[in-house]
Each structure stands twice: as structure tokens, then as C-alpha cells.
């Protein structure tokens, strides 16, 4: 489904602020797999998602998605294959437009947009039904502006929008990080439901060890722009938040020797 091979991305190249966000990352995701990505701050986990989404074009390497070489596709073109939910609840919806209009926009994700009416009668009934399925009671407020909704409600709607047309790939970028615990649980539940119901292939970045341990069938741990662990199957199922924290502790201890010192030691002793 998704085939990432040898991608690298360096931001602010050649300046003192140079960040090597991705370094030769390889990742292959099978159809229907739900991959959770965790990592320390600045490890490149969101950058990896953005590379797939096309927010920027990678420096090296290739990205294949659903049989297309999307490496050089602009973001809006990749949108026909990809559904996204952002970290910021304000990013995924148009606040001054109504719930109905936002959904109508999502219903044509990646398709041509002509002079047909955006909100037709038959679409409205489908829409209320699917909004009711969210269980947030928003079906009666379908003509209200999104700006009047809470962060949790917006994220739930963004999720509905991202999956309105079945995406080849669903990208969730820390989509519960900005929510209160109750809303976060709700959005996680909805995410899990839609992924299971539609058998979606998904990638989710998270900071929550709890989510990382309980969600998905595969877990990828990133550090300094590389993938350092890849847990699958039974190994993934056995993982507990404590195990993940232990792995992070391991990484942290390794960090205490800085890279040049490590290089020196390696030369001296190996």
C-alpha cells in the first residue's frame, strides 16, 4: 500500500539552523495496517507524516502509495488518496462555513469541482445520518458555523471529513494532543471505529504511550530522523506503556554520550 524507500529531508539546509528531519527512512505498510508512530520531540515523526501527505517534497528517496509514484505529486493531488486529521483542531475545518458546507467540501475530496450545487437535498439526508453516527448530537446543528464548535467536536468532524470518501491512507497527526481527556477518548474511539469499519490503512502519530500501546497493529519508534524500532504482530500486542517508556529511557541514556564522543570511543575500542 505505502512504500517509502530511502527518504531524507533537511530543513534550512546550509544554515546554522539546519535540521536533518528525516534520514534515509524506509517503511513499508501493508493494506489495512494501522501503524502508530511515536518518538521523542523533533524525532521526525510528524515530518514523516507530512512527507507522505506532500506538505513538502522529499530531498531523496521515493514514496509509492496505492500503486502510484507520488514522490513529486503536490499536496492537493495526493489528497485524492489521502485523508488527514491535523494536530490543531482549527486546521481541519473552515470555521466560518457551516458543518454542512464543510462536509460537502469533503465529499468531493480529490475530485473535480464544477458548478453543481454543493448542498443538494439528497446529500443533506445522507449527511445528517453520518453526523448522527458520531454520537455528538451535531445533526441538529448542521447549518451552524464550525467556529461555534468545541475542539473535540471539530476533530470528530475532521475525522468524518477525512474518511467521508474512503481514503487509501488515513494520516492522523497527534489529532488528540490538543483536546481535553474526555474529548480525546471520544476522538480515539471514533478513529478506531472508522478504521475497523472501513478497513482503512492508517498512520497515527501520538505522544500518548497509552494510545501507542492500545491502538494499531504495528508500532514504529523514531529518533533523530530514523526509525529505531519496529514492533509488529504479537510483539506489538504485548507492548505496555511501561515497555515503551523503558525504550525511551534507553534512547535517552545512549544520548548522554554525544555523537563525537561515541565516535571516538568506537575508534579506540573497536
Amino acid at each position: 500500500m505505502l512504500e517509502i524507500s530511502g527518504i531524507s529531508k533537511t530543513f534550512h539546509s546550509g544554515t546554522p539552523n539546519e535540521v536533518r528531519a528525516l534520514q534515509q527512512v524506509d517503511l513499508s505498510i501493508e493494506d489495512g495496517s494501522f501503524v502508530v508512530v511515536i518518538g521523542t520531540n523533533g524525532s521526525g515523526k510528524s515530518t514523516l507524516l507530512n512527507a507522505v501527505a506532500g506538505t513538502f517534497i522529499v530531498d531523496t528517496g521515493t514514496i509509492h502509495l496505492a500503486g502510484h509514484d507520488v514522490t513529486h505529486w503536490p499536496e492537493h493531488r495526493r489528497a485524492q488518496l489521502i485523508g488527514r486529521v491535523f494536530q490543531n483542531p482549527f486546521s481541519g475545518t473552515a470555521p466560518d462555513m457551516s458543518i454542512a458546507e464543510n462536509l460537502a467540501l469533503a465529499a468531493r475530496r480529490g475530485q473535480s469541482r464544477g458548478l453543481g450545487w454543493a448542498l443538494r437535498g439528497d446529500f443533506r439526508s445522507v449527511m445528517s445520518e453520518r453526523v448522527r453516527c458520531l454520537g455528538l448530537g451535531l445533526e441538529s446543528r448542521i447549518d451552524n458555523a464550525i467556529g461555534t464548535l468545541s475542539g473535540g467536536q471539530r476533530q470528530a468532524l475532521t475525522l468524518l471529513m477525512a474518511t467521508w470518501l474512503r481514503p487509501q491512507m488515513l494520516l492522523l497527526d497527534e489529532h488528540t494532543a490538543a483536546l481535553d481527556p474526555k474529548s480525546a477518548d471520544q476522538v480515539v474511539r471514533l478513529s478506531r471505529e472508522v478504521i475497523e469499519r472501513d478497513h482503512l490503512t492508517a498512520m497515527m502519530v501520538t505522544h500518548s504511550m497509552q494510545q501507542a500501546a492500545s491502538l494499531g497493529d504495528r508500532l514504529v519508534m523514531m529518533h533523530r530522523g530514523r526509525i529505531i524500532h519496529d514492533f509488529r504482530g504479537a510483539e506489538k500486542r504485548r507492548l505496555r506503556p511501561a515497555d515503551l517508556l523503558a525504550r525511551f529511557e534507553e534512547v535517552r541514556r545512549g544520548e548522554q554520550l554525544d555523537e563525537s564522543a561515541a565516535e571516538l570511543l568506537r575508534r579506540a575500542y573497536i
Binding site: 485524492q80 481541519g92 467540501l105 469541482r113 458548478l115 454543493a118
Partner: protein, 309 residues
Amino acid sequence: MTLLLGALTIGLILSLLALGVFISFRIFSFPDITADGSVTLGASVTAILLVNGVHPLLATGAGFCAGMLAGALTGILHTRFKINGLLSGILVMTALYSVNLHVMGKSNLPLLSTRTLATEAEGLATFVLGGTTEIGVLGWEVSPRDAAVLILVFAAIVVAAGLLYAFFRTNLGTAMRATGNNDQMIRALGVNVGNMIVLGLAVSNGLIALAGSLLAQYQGFADVQMGIGMVVWGLASVIIGEALVGTQQLGLVIAGAVMGSVLFRLLIAIALRAGLNPNDLKLITAGFVFLALILPNLLGTLRRRRAEA
């Protein structure tokens, strides 16, 4: 009465300008100065075609299309060449000044003995009324020409505003509004944001050029200076309109822009009648827009202070 009719007619004509400015400023939050040039562009293209005997409807349509091209050019400078939005508009506006002079061949082109939409309207009125020279409206005597022009302009504005409203409810128009509202979101839904901005500015400047074209035909000349300060006029109309309707609802906002333009023009006519020096007009307009822009913030601060006290 003639004064009032004139103010109404010009206010209605310039409501097309207000609608154009509404698209660029309010929908895209794009400070599009191209308007100053495209008002004149619409006027000059229409005027030169009329002088050369082209049918008024065709000439007006050509003015509209010329404006669309100008707007698209600004959009392309901004989206393809990554030039700052304000600067893109300034570049095109500046270039249009020379273009307009070339189109007209001189700085002022009179349309006095030419067939225009205004003379067509007059012809229509004579045909309907059979040569009456004065008609009574609510006890006032008005010339059939003024009345006919006003009615036709009103009809044209209703059609234009209706079309615009309908357009913004289509799939394409909804995507365009979303582009201005949240470009990150609409990109993630597969819309090419650059193309939307180019198209939006084209429609915006098309309407603005149409305003220029109609204005030239109404006042009987096109002048290379006639566009100066028009952006601020349009903005003033949009702001008054928003204050009048007090909502974000699309249909009402569009109607508000039209009403704002008419009201603004009436206020100016009254002020001029009361002895305002015409030279001060632009200064006062700019001052008014300045006040309208800072007033919401100012009121908010005052209210907060009062709440704290």
C-alpha cells in the same frame, strides 16, 4: 430629485465594485489594489469599443473580460511567482495605467454622441412611454432617461448579485470560500489553492471592471484617473454593508455590500450638497475606512476596561 436619482444610480453601479472588493478582501483576505486599475480598464476598453461602433452589450462584456484578465494576472504574480499580494496588485495597477492610456489613445475619451447602454435605456424608455418628457414618481418629476437607467442598472445589479450568490453555493464557489477561510484544510481536500486565488481575483476584477464600464457609459466619458481610490470606496461600502446586516451569512453579506454602496454614495451626495469641498472627499473616505477598521478593536478594549473597573 435628479441628484438623488444620480446618487442612487452611481451607488448601484459601484456596488459591483463593492462586490469585487468583497471577494478579494473578505473572502480571500487579499489586499487587492488591482481594483484601482481595473475600474479604468473596464471603462477604457468599453469606451474605445463604443467609439468604434461596437454594440454596447458586447463592449460592456469586453470590459468585464479585460478586468478578469487583469485580476488573473495579479493572482498569477502572487501564486506562481510568490510575489507579496499587495505588491502584485500594485505592479498590475501601475502597469494598467499605461495600458489604459494606450487603449484610449488619450487620457479622456468622451462618449457624448456614442451609442451606449445609457442611450439604449433612454431609447427603451421613449419606446415604452411614447415620448413623454417628464414622468411623475411619488410626486416628483423625473426625466424618463434617468428613470430608465436606474431601473436597468438595478436589474443588472440584482442579476449580478444573484449570480454571485449562486456561484458561491456551487461546489467550485464553496471551495473558493474555503480557500480564503482555511487554505490548509482545502489543500488537504484536494483543491489547488493557487488556481482558486487566480480564479477568485479574476471574478473580483471582472466585476470591478464592469462597474467601471457602466460608470463610463452613465457619466458619458472614460478618464484615465477615474479609478484612483476606488479600492477604498469599495472597502467602505463593504464595511457599511456588514454593519447594516450584522451577520456573516453569505446572501445577506452580498445584499449588504450592495446596500452599503448605495448608502455610502447617498451620504456623499448629501455631504457635497451641504457644502463639503469635493477635494476633501478621498481624505474623508480614507478617514472613514480607518475608523471602521479600528472601531471593533477599540470598542472591545473599552468594554474590557469597563468590565474590569
